[in-house]
Amino acid sequence: MTRQEKDQQLDAAVRAHHSGLRYFIRSLGVNESWVDDLAQETFLIAHRKWEELDHPDNAPGWFRMIARNLVMNELTKVGRRQRLIDEKITGILLAAEPTIPAPGLLQDAETRHRALRECLNGLPGNIRRVISARYYDDRNASEIGEELSMNPASVRKLLFHARKALADCLVAKHVHP
C-alpha cells in the first residue's frame, strides 16, 4: 500500500467513525473534557499501525480497541486524576463494554442530534434552562443551584432524570442514545 492510499483510507475511516468513537470513549466514563484528546490519540496510533488493520470495514471495532487500550493504560498510571478518569467506575464500564459497536452507535450523528433537539424541545422550560446551564455554560450543579436558587443535589437529580427522559425519548424515536 502506498502512503497516499494509506492516508486516503485513514481519512475516510476517521470521517466515518470519529463520532461513534467519541461516544464510545465517553461511555467508558472518560471525562467529557478528555474525550477528544483520547480520540485524537487513537487516530494517531491508528495511523502508525494502519497496516495491521485487515480491512477498512473493520476500522470501527479496531478504533475502539485502540481507544480501550489507551483508557486501560491510563488506569494503570500512577498519579492520574480521578476527575478525568475514575479507576473503579471506568474499570467496571470497560469490563461490560462490548468492543464491537452496537448497530445504533453507527447512526448518523446528524440524525441523532436532530432527534435529541426534538426531545429537548419537549422538556419543560425550567429543565431546559438547567441543561443549558450545565452543557452550554459549563456550570456545575453548585453554580447552577446558586443561579436558580436550587439545592445542588436537586440540580444533579434533575439533570439525571432529564437525561433519562431524553434517553427514553430517543429510544421511542428509534435512535440510539
Binding site: 473534557s33 478528555w34 480520540a39 478525568l84 450523528a109 452550554y136
Partner: protein
C-alpha cells in the same frame, strides 16, 4: 446512610462524587448489570448534549483533527505522533483540577494545533489605559465600555460590555455572550468567532456578532462576506445581509439591522472617540455610509483601509497645528512611507436636503483616532482627485455647485472660516465647519499598521 443509585450516578456525572460514594456506586454497578447500562446511557446522553455545542460538535472535531492527520503523511513515521502526544500530556497537566470545564479542555486540545497556551496573541485597549496582553487560553469578562483587541494577525475586534470571550488562537475566539465587531485584513482571513449556537468564519470582511446568553446569535455583515456554520449547515452571508442562529433550530435570515453595533463599529474602525458635533457615522454598508445625511453632526466615515496608496498624493496638511483661511489650502505632497499601510476617513457635514442660500451654520467638534494622522485633504479639487485612491463607496450625487463647494472654504464674506487643528500627537483632529448650502468635508489619512 447510603445514597440511592440515581443520586450517586448524578454526582458521578457532575464530577462531585467523593471516595466513599464512589465505592458505593462501584458496588452497586458490580452487583447489577442493569445499573451499568443506566450509567452508560447517562454518559452517552451527557456526551450528546455536550456535542450540541458548536465548539464541541463533530464538524469542529473533524476540522481540528483532519489537517493534522494529513500533516502526518509528510513527516517521519514517529515525528508527529510523538510531538502531539507530548503536547497532549502537557495539556493534561495544565488543565489540572479544572479539566471538567469543557471549554478549557477544548482550548487545551487546540493549542496543539494553533498555538501554545500562554502565547500572546493580541493586545487589549480599554480607554486611555495602557494595553494589556491577551494570551492563548485566556477567558476575559468585559464589564464596562468598549474594548479594542488588536490581534497579531492584524484582526481588530471591538467588544462591548457585558461580554465574555475565550481566546484559543489568533484565528479563533469563543464569544460566550456579548456583542463584537471585527475587521479582518487579508492576513486574518479565516478568523473564526464561535458562539454557542454557530460558528462564523471570516472570508475577508467587516462583521458584527451579537450573542445572547440563551444561545441565540446574530451575524451581521457590513462588508465582504462570512461563512456561518451550524450543525453541518453552512451559509455564506454577504455585505448588507444578516443571519440568526438559535439553539435547537437552524439558521434563518433576518433583516439587516446594524444599529446594534453603533458603539463597537467605530472602535473596530479606528475611531477612538469623538466630541462635540463630530460623531462616528452609524454602522452600515459603504453605500449606506455614502448616503448618510445629518443637519446636526459632522459624521466620521471610515473609507478604505490596510493599503499602500502606491503613489504620491497632493494634500493640504502634513504637520500638526491649526489651519484656517489660506493656510488650509496650501498644496503639499504626501509621500506615503514605503511598506506603510494607510487608511482614510471622511469628516462630512451633509445636511438633509438644502440649507437656504446664504444661511450658514457653525458646527464643531473633534475626533481622536487610534492611529496618527499622516495627512489631511481639505480642498474640493484635491478631494476629488483623491477619491479614486481612498474612497470605498460612491459619493452622494452632487450638483456641479456641490462638487465645487464640497471641500472647506475660506470665503472673505464669512465672519469665521472653516478651521482644522491637528494635535501634536497627531491623533486628535479638531474641526470647525461653517456649513453653507452644500456638503462640507475633509479627508484624514492615518497610518494603519
Amino acid at each position: 446512610m447510603h445514597d440511592d443509585f440515581d443520586s450517586l450516578c448524578a454526582s458521578y456525572l457532575d464530577g462531585t462524587l467523593d471516595e466513599r460514594s464512589r465505592d458505593e456506586l462501584a458496588a452497586l454497578l458490580e452487583s447489577d448489570p442493569a445499573k451499568v447500562a443506566v450509567l452508560r446511557s447517562q454518559l452517552l446522553l451527557s456526551g450528546s448534549l455536550a456535542r450540541l455545542r458548536p465548539d464541541l460538535d463533530d464538524e469542529h472535531f473533524l476540522r481540528t483533527v483532519m489537517p493534522h492527520v494529513h500533516a502526518m503523511s509528510g513527516e517521519a513515521e514517529e515525528a508527529f505522533p510523538s510531538r502531539v502526544r507530548k503536547s497532549i500530556r502537557t495539556a493534561r497537566w495544565r488543565r489540572g483540577a479544572l479539566a471538567a470545564a469543557a471549554v478549557m479542555a477544548l482550548a487545551a486540545t487546540l493549542f496543539v494545533f494553533h498555538g501554545r497556551r500562554g502565547d500572546m496573541i493580541a493586545s487589549r485597549f480599554d480607554g486611555e489605559s495602557p494595553s494589556q496582553p491577551v494570551r492563548v487560553g485566556d477567558k476575559l469578562e468585559f464589564s464596562q465600555g468598549v474594548s479594542r483587541l488588536e490581534f497579531s494577525n492584524g484582526a481588530v475586534v471591538a467588544v462591548e460590555a457585558p461580554a465574555a470571550m475565550s481566546f484559543r488562537s489568533p484565528e479563533e475566539v469563543v464569544l460566550d455572550y456579548g456583542r463584537l465587531n471585527a475587521w479582518c485584513p487579508e492576513t486574518a482571513h479565516g478568523f473564526r468567532v464561535i458562539t454557542r449556537s454557530a460558528t462564523l468564519t471570516d472570508l475577508g470582511t467587516s462583521f458584527g456578532v451579537s450573542a445572547a446568553r440563551d444561545g441565540t446569535a446574530d451575524f451581521v455583515v457590513l462588508d465582504g462576506k462570512v461563512e456561518v456554520q451550524k450543525d453541518g449547515e453552512t451559509r455564506t452571508v454577504e455585505r448588507g445581509a444578516a443571519l440568526r442562529a438559535n439553539h435547537g433550530r437552524g439558521l434563518s435570515k433576518i433583516a439587516f439591522e446594524p444599529s446594534a453595533f453603533k458603539r463597537t463599529w467605530p472602535v473596530a474602525s479606528g475611531i477612538h472617540s469623538t466630541r462635540g458635533e463630530v460623531v462616528p457615522a452609524p454602522p452600515g454598508t459603504r453605500e449606506a455610509l455614502a448616503a448618510y445625511e445629518s443637519d446636526r453632526h459632522i459624521l466620521v466615515i471610515p473609507e478604505r483601509r490596510d493599503f499602500h496608496p502606491g503613489k504620491k498624493i497632493p494634500v493640504n496638511i502634513l504637520e500638526p497645528g491649526g489651519y484656517e483661511g489660506r493656510n488650509l489650502f496650501q498644496p503639499v505632497t504626501f509621500s506615503p512611507p514605503p511598506k506603510t499601510k494607510v487608511r482614510s476617513y471622511l469628516l462630512r457635514y451633509n445636511p438633509v436636503g438644502k440649507l437656504e442660500k446664504k444661511d450658514h451654520k457653525l458646527i464643531e467638534g473633534s475626533v481622536t483616532f487610534d492611529r496618527p494622522v499622516l495627512a489631511i485633504i481639505a480642498g474640493s479639487r484635491l478631494l476629488h482627485l483623491s477619491d479614486e485612491v481612498f474612497s470605498s463607496a460612491p459619493l452622494p450625487k452632487m450638483t456641479e455647485v456641490d462638487s465645487k463647494l464640497r471641500g472647506l472654504e475660506s470665503s472673505p464674506n464669512l465672519i469665521r472660516s472653516d478651521r482644522v487643528e491637528l494635535s501634536k500627537d497627531r491623533r486628535m483632529l479638531k474641526v470647525t465647519f461653517i456649513a453653507g448650502e452644500s456638503i462640507d468635508e475633509l479627508r484624514a489619512i492615518t497610518a494603519d499598521d
